[in-house]
Structures are given as C-alpha cells and as structure tokens.
C-alpha cells in the first residue's frame, strides 16, 4: 500500500511526541484503543483557562495511526476546549488522504482528543472537590 506524503511526513517527523505529567491538574490524558486491536493512542493536553497550550502523544499503531495522532496534537494546540471538541475524524481523513481501511485510525484520534478533554474536565471537577475536602480536614 502506498502512503500519502503527509502520512509519511508525520511518520518520519512526528510532531509533539512525548508525555506530560498526568498527575498535574492542568493536564488531561486520553488513552484509547487496545493492544490486541493493534492501535493504542495516548493524547495529552495542557490547559490554561479554557485554552489548550500544549499537547503530546504516544501511539502504538500503524503509520496512519501515528500520523493521525501527530496531526491531532498539532490541531488542538492553541484551540479552546470547545473548539478542539469540534475536530472531526473526517477532517483528519481528508488532511492525510487516508484510504478507507485506515479510517478507524482517524476515529481513534478523534476519540483520543475527546477522552483527553473529558479527563481534564473530570479532573478539574474532582480536583476542586478534593482540595475542598483537604481544606475541611485541615485544622
């Protein structure tokens, strides 16, 4: 199978590979996929206010999966959480010229963005309540 130039570019020069400290309150982490399916994506976002200021990924998967997650980190950076949630897998398919058998890679990338945002939101909710709890317990 021939890969598109953009897939090859992201595979050879992936953007934003790495990890953010997932215990930090301003970091949201999304892990989607499963090893037995051949794809696992971990996408992390760092949020200030409601804007994504940094994003990192690590992916176990085919070249198209790596390219999809690399592109996703590029796209979410600088966006607000609401803007990032509107990214659709079809846009990733179009940008990377993914063939039909690789559409699931783009779906996974969209899921990873959503999961990271959800994790951040959940964390900031429970984060507030747990710090309140600490305050209550403190003498």
């Amino acid at each position: 199978m021939a890969y598109s130039d953009k897939v090859l570019d992201h595979y050879n020069n992936p953007r934003n590979v790495g990890a953010l400290d997932k215990s930090n309150e301003d970091v949201g982490t999304g892990v989607v996929g499963a090893p037995e399916c051949g794809d696992v994506m971990k996408l992390q976002i760092k949020v200030e206010g409601d804007r994504i200021v940094d994003a990192k990924f690590k992916t176990f998967g085919c070249g198209s999966a790596i390219a999809s997650s690399s592109l996703a980190t590029e796209w979410v950076k600088g966006k607000t959480l609401d803007e990032a949630s509107t990214i659709r897998n079809t846009e990733i398919v179009q940008e990377l010229s993914l063939p039909p058998v690789k559409i699931h890679c783009s779906v996974l990338a969209e899921d990873a963005i959503k999961a990271a945002i959800a994790d951040y939101k959940k964390k900031t909710d429970t984060g507030t309540s747990s710090s309140e709890k600490v305050k209550q317990e403190a003498p």
């Binding site: 595979y11 992936p14 499963a34 037995e36 696992v40 971990k42 085919c62």
Partner: protein
Amino acid sequence: MKLPVYLDYQATTPVDPRVLETMLPYFSDDFGNAASRNHSFGWSAESAVTKAREQIASLIGASPKEIIFTSGSTEAINLAIKGTAQMYGSKGKHIITSLAEHKAVLDTCKHIEKLGFEVTYLKPDKAGRVGVEKVAEAIREDTILVALIWANNEVGTLNPIREIGALCHERDTLFFTDATQAVGKVAVDVEKDNVDMLCLSAHKIYGPKGTGAFYVRRRKPRVRLVAQIDGGGHERGMRSGTLNVPGIVGLGRACEICEAELEEEMARAAELRDYLEEKIRAELDMVHLNGHEKHHLPGNLNLSFSYVEGESLLMGMDDVAVSSGSACTSASLEPSHVLRSMDVGDDLAHSSIRFGIGRFTTKEEVDYAADKLIAAVKRLRQMSPLYEMALEGIDPSSVDWQGGH
C-alpha cells in the same frame, strides 16, 4: 549492495539465471505442444517435459510417473482434498488438518464441509508443531485423509512428517502434505517420509510463477483422485490442459539445482538466519521468537517486538522487503491465523515480522536489514504508550482496554 533488500523469500523467489536460461528456448524455438505426438515440435516438447519430470521426482524421491504438473500449490491442494473427498467419500467423510495450514488448505476444507464432510482442525503447539500423538487421537474409522503442512509459511516450523506419515499408513488413511515451503529447503523423500501426496511450487524454489508439481503415489497405496479439471485427459487424467512447457522446464531445472546444492544452501541460510537473530537480540530486549527453536526452515526467522506495531515497523524499514503478521498488512484486517493458532497473543501477532533468507541473500544485506530494524524498533518504542507503561512497571496485557477497534 542493491536496494531495496529482499528478505521475503517465503513469498516468492527470483528466477535463478540458470533456470531462466534453460527455459528461454521453449518460448520460441521449441514451442511445441507436448501432446502433439506426430511431429518433431511435439516430440521435442515432450522430451523436455519428461526430463523435468525426472528432475522433480529425483529431488523428492518419487518415480517420474507419480508427478503431475499443475499451475502451483493452490491448484494441487484443491485437487488433493476435493479429489480425495470425491473418490473416497463412500468409504468415509472425515478429514484431518490443522489450524496453522495455508489458506488454500483451510478454504478448501471449508468448501468440502459444505458438501457434507467433517473436518477436524488440529491445534498446533506454541511452536506451531502438530505432534503425531494429536493426529493419532484424531484419526477415526471414517478418516480418509490427513492434510498437514510440511514447513509453515509464516513461522517456518517443520511438522514431524515422517512419523505422521507412518501413522497414517498404519491406520490406513491417506496422507497429503503441502510441502511448498519445504521442498528445496530441507531434505524431502516421499518414500522415507511416508507421504502419499505432496505439492510444490516452482516460484518458491527459484523457478517461474504459475508452475507447480503434485506428487501422487502409485503403489502402496495407489492413490486415486477425481479430477477437478476435465479436458483432454492429460497427466494420467488427473489434470487436463496443455502443459506449460517453458514453466515445467524451469521447474525441472530449479529442482535439479536445489538437489545439487541443498546441503550447502541449508547451511548458508541457517548461518545467516542465526546471525540475524543474534544481532537483533544483542540490541533489543523483549523480542519473541514465533516458531520452533530447533525444527524450523533454515532461512526463516519470525520475531515479535513487544509494544511496536508491525506495519509501522515495516514503514521504518522502507528499503527492506519483509512481511508482517499484523492485521494492518493483511487483506482480511485480521492478525495472522497461524500465530493465533499458536496462542501468540493478538498484541504480539500485530508486532511480528517475518524474515526470509534465500539463495541470493548476502551478509551485507542481513546487516543492513538488522540495522534498519533495530533503529526503527527503538524509535517506535520511544513513541509507544505501551512501552512507556512497561517501563513504569505496568503490564499492558493486565489493563482492561476498552473501546478498541
């Protein structure tokens, strides 16, 4: 060194220049039909075919009369299984095969199941081998055929053919082996190895594509088959159709070369294979061998690299031709059925790479491929969330993964 490097000799092989040279006159000057009995063009073609039959028979220890020309192994497999089922169906309707067979065998078995036959699919052990005891347990009164691969095309594991053949003769059932990967790579002798039917393909042994041979035993026992292609009654009535004379001449010559150089080639391939494995293991951890440590084809090496997906690994080795058991590289989008049958987890099946070393492989090429592979695995592990987990002490296989695709 010429790039790309070809290390996929199980898929196919280049035609040996000596084979090509032998074939060429039969396209133009000696173009006769081997079935033309009344002129010199036909006689010349027939004599070339006769010689090829002898060369093939000699390589596998058969009599030339027991060789039937086919278009390749897939056709021979269809004839062996369907032909046996139709000829001996009144005696019994049970056939034994394994889960690690080539799709040509599995799909043909699926077909005859629909016609009312019962097929037992034996599960190989973790190294991909079907033990003789397993076959012994499965044979019944109504078993008419045991069909097992000699050397597995993915993992290179060799089945104990001689013992299984002896068992089949003792229990009065026919034994067919798909020896497509074995012939020309390891010693094959249909008499000593107790084989009743065997198929081989020219393009796996440095001959042309589209040509194969099918061995059918003539005595003790005499195997009879119902032909699957009817026509002029060529090839003892078992396979009609004008013979592919240039292809057959090439196959004959290819067999002759294999016979003359077998031991030397085996030693050379085994040395390069072991060298490749050692070189990879010296640089990488968490490398798993798929296949048997001892009973394997000399030039086959199938490894899984934990936490790295096979297709992305192939992309990182862009000027090395190898294959992967990853679903992403298969038409069916399923990981290799052979690795699954050996209980290799789907995660490791996705991470498998098959290297095939052949006649024209050089040490320089092996070094090049190994270096490319090692660099790609290291790079991809750096971006693998699973490798990260493993380094943190979390076993990714213990995680409850949800929402997989």
